[in-house]
Symmetry: C2
Subunit: 402 residues, 2 copies
């Protein structure tokens, strides 16, 4: 069996953890499997490199920043190969040049285009554990690129696809995908399986276990993913096309308290208003989530939407600059909101799901501000202080507990 | 004019020094020259990386150690390109892969075989300052190698040769080559010019300004070298084939207190004894310097030689292990010695040079233990405590002061 294992920065943050990961990789190797390990930079090292760069240049050129940031993973893989050597297991570390991880040209947010597998396959045939840098690539100019958020997960899945690996294991600090965040919902239960689509909605909605880019890629190439803990040996959650276990109505409940709401009041009710508004934000690379349009007074309309709280200031500034062109009366913003979502492929054939969610919120006296739905998801906007109570209520209503 | 500039680790040890080097490179660029900058790792960063490796693996595999060590120079060049950007000068950093610095396969002590110049030349044509990693290369397996001691100097000279640069400037913490170490000989004078051969003997003899590999390479390809200070703008010393200034009898006096003497007493006086002895040391990669053979008692002979003090323990161990085969009576070692040398192409046509050196030592009551000479060099072994006194006496005897 060919296994791709990905460990994040926390799992390789110091000598002890590196040795721990090395021992872990050795088990599968000794059982006769081929093992490829994808690593992120150690602990907070990427942040330290960014700080070092910004100390010299407030706006470091992205090309040079990528040149600097790729050091992080190269350090991890070299140290891991040395750790494996102490365990008498042959290992070799490879960076983006040595593998040949071809990406698009854009720095800081490149996309993988093609991975050469020749070198990795040769090393596997020599019975080595191959330790590969995550997060980084090389563009057509032979310059380093980085993949942006969730980059190492993406590297691991793409490698698994290119190598036709039997499984891609993503090791994290939780031991799988839960029906809800166990820190907030004590009765939350670990799922043994979940579909790519459900996982995508959970990833997007802030469950935070896997980045959606990697899930999309896994879905596209049918790579079986397993989300496992790097701290214990429990089985984790398998993410695949069609879970074989009995399908539940709902797979999970996700709470996102980072969303903020912006309301644009008194827009003219003419065609093109919404386009102009969201075009202004798209040009600044601001992701807009739940959108609600309502009729205002005197032939005007109001548009509300949510953005990530880190984008709030820039969104307000962008709208302010374009006030004339957009022709609105007033801007309001509200940080005191949370996004509560239920996700489940089962709801496609069960029309009562949304109603059951709303009922459980009503029973807890939780007010719903906005509603948004997709085929396998219902999202409501509520006040932030109701978040945990609402999450538990919905979790109970769908009998997700053990 | 195309100028290759090399700065060592001390010159880029922190933000202020990096900015200082950046400003310096900008001057030649703004005067219309093409500038290639070769950098070492910052300050003690290479030592830190080695410590990090040895903390995980007492004997890290050399291939993986090189993978780790190359991070040092890549960090330097990325930060330097960012620093140049703040000065509004277009710059680009390149590592050994991006340039294509082809080396032999051996890790930790590789030799440069070929440097591709295409990428560098293209960037120079785009009027960029090109910042290149010293010390590192890539072997035919696409693995990182490092060049060993003096590696960055070697990279700079090799690059200058490959690019047909007009000059290769080596920046150090001294402002040129002196007739003697100014810290030990207050009257020492800076040389404006010196020949490759003289510089080679000075480099080998511990003057410490330039590594001999880089001088050999410069001589082979006729690359004009300039040794300059990174701290001030003084003119430095030009190293070239035929100095144009009036040739002095002696160019400099060098003192090396790191040498230790080993005496092998009571060897059998038969053919092959010396071969066997030095073969044992060569197999351990121990460099032997001054050698003296003398007749002992009862048909035996004694052989004395010097090695670097870091090699003393291993040399003694190697000789001990082979005692049977070499058939000697006793080993002695002496740390309390110093090697004093005079170097000068002028002595080739002046037979009285060695005698004048010995006379000046006799006048100071300095005992000479061993003597070794080459065409342009005379070396004597003296007691370490006489070192500075003897150096000054010889420096005076040849009127090297201003």
């Amino acid at each position: 069996m060919l296994i791709v294992k990905k460990f994040g920065g926390t799992s390789v943050a110091n000598k002890e953890r590196i040795m721990n990961v090395a021992r872990r990789c050795t088990e599968d190797y000794k059982a006769g499997h081929d093992v490829v390990v994808v690593l992120s930079a150690m602990g907070k090292y990427t942040d330290e490199l960014i700080a070092m760069a910004e100390d010299i240049n407030e706006k470091p050129p992205r090309r040079e920043l990528d040149m600097l940031l790729t050091l992080g993973e190269q350090m991890s893989v070299a140290l891991m190969a040395m750790a494996l050597d102490t365990l008498k297991v042959p290992a070799i570390s490879l960076n983006a040049f040595q593998v040949s991880m071809h990406t698009t040209s854009v720095h800081g947010n490149a996309r993988l285009k093609r991975i050469d597998t020749e070198r990795i396959q040769r090393e596997l045939e020599n019975r080595k554990i191959v330790v590969v840098t995550g997060f980084q690539g090389v563009n057509k100019y032979d310059d380093y690129t980085t993949l942006g958020r969730g980059g190492s997960d993406t590297t691991a899945v793409a490698l698994a696809a290119a190598l036709h690996a039997d499984v891609c294991e993503i090791f994290t600090d939780v031991d799988g995908v839960y029906t809800a965040d166990p820190r907030l919902v004590p009765t939350a239960r670990k799922l043994s399986e979940i579909s790519y689509d459900e996982m995508l909605d959970l990833a997007t909605l802030g469950a935070g276990v896997l980045h959606n880019r990697s899930v999309e890629l896994a879905k596209k190439y049918g790579v079986p993913l397993v989300v496992r803990s790097s701290l214990n040996n429990s089985e984790g959650t398998v993410v695949k096309e069609e879970p074989t276990v009995e399908r539940m109505l709902i797979s999970g409940v996700a709470l996102d308290t980072k969303a903020v709401r912006i309301a644009v009041i008194g827009l003219q009710d003419v065609p093109g208003t919404a386009f102009k508004l969201f075009d202004v934000l798209a040009k600044r690379n601001i992701n807009v989530d739940v959108i609600l349009q309502s009729i205002g007074r005197n032939g005007t309309k109001d548009i509300s939407f949510t953005v990530d709280d880190k984008d709030l200031d820039e969104a307000i500034a962008a709208l302010d600059e374009n006030r004339q062109r957009l022709g609105y009366k007033e801007l309001q913003s509200d940080r005191n909101i949370a996004k509560l979502s239920i996700v489940g492929a089962g709801m496609m054939s069960n029309p009562g799901v949304a109603a059951r969610m709303f009922e459980s919120l009503y029973n807890e006296n939780v007010n719903i501000n906005m509603i948004s739905t997709s085929e396998i998801r219902v999202t409501v906007l509520i006040n932030e202080q109701d978040g945990v109570k609402a999450m538990n209520a919905v979790h109970d209503a769908f009998k997700l507990a053990d």
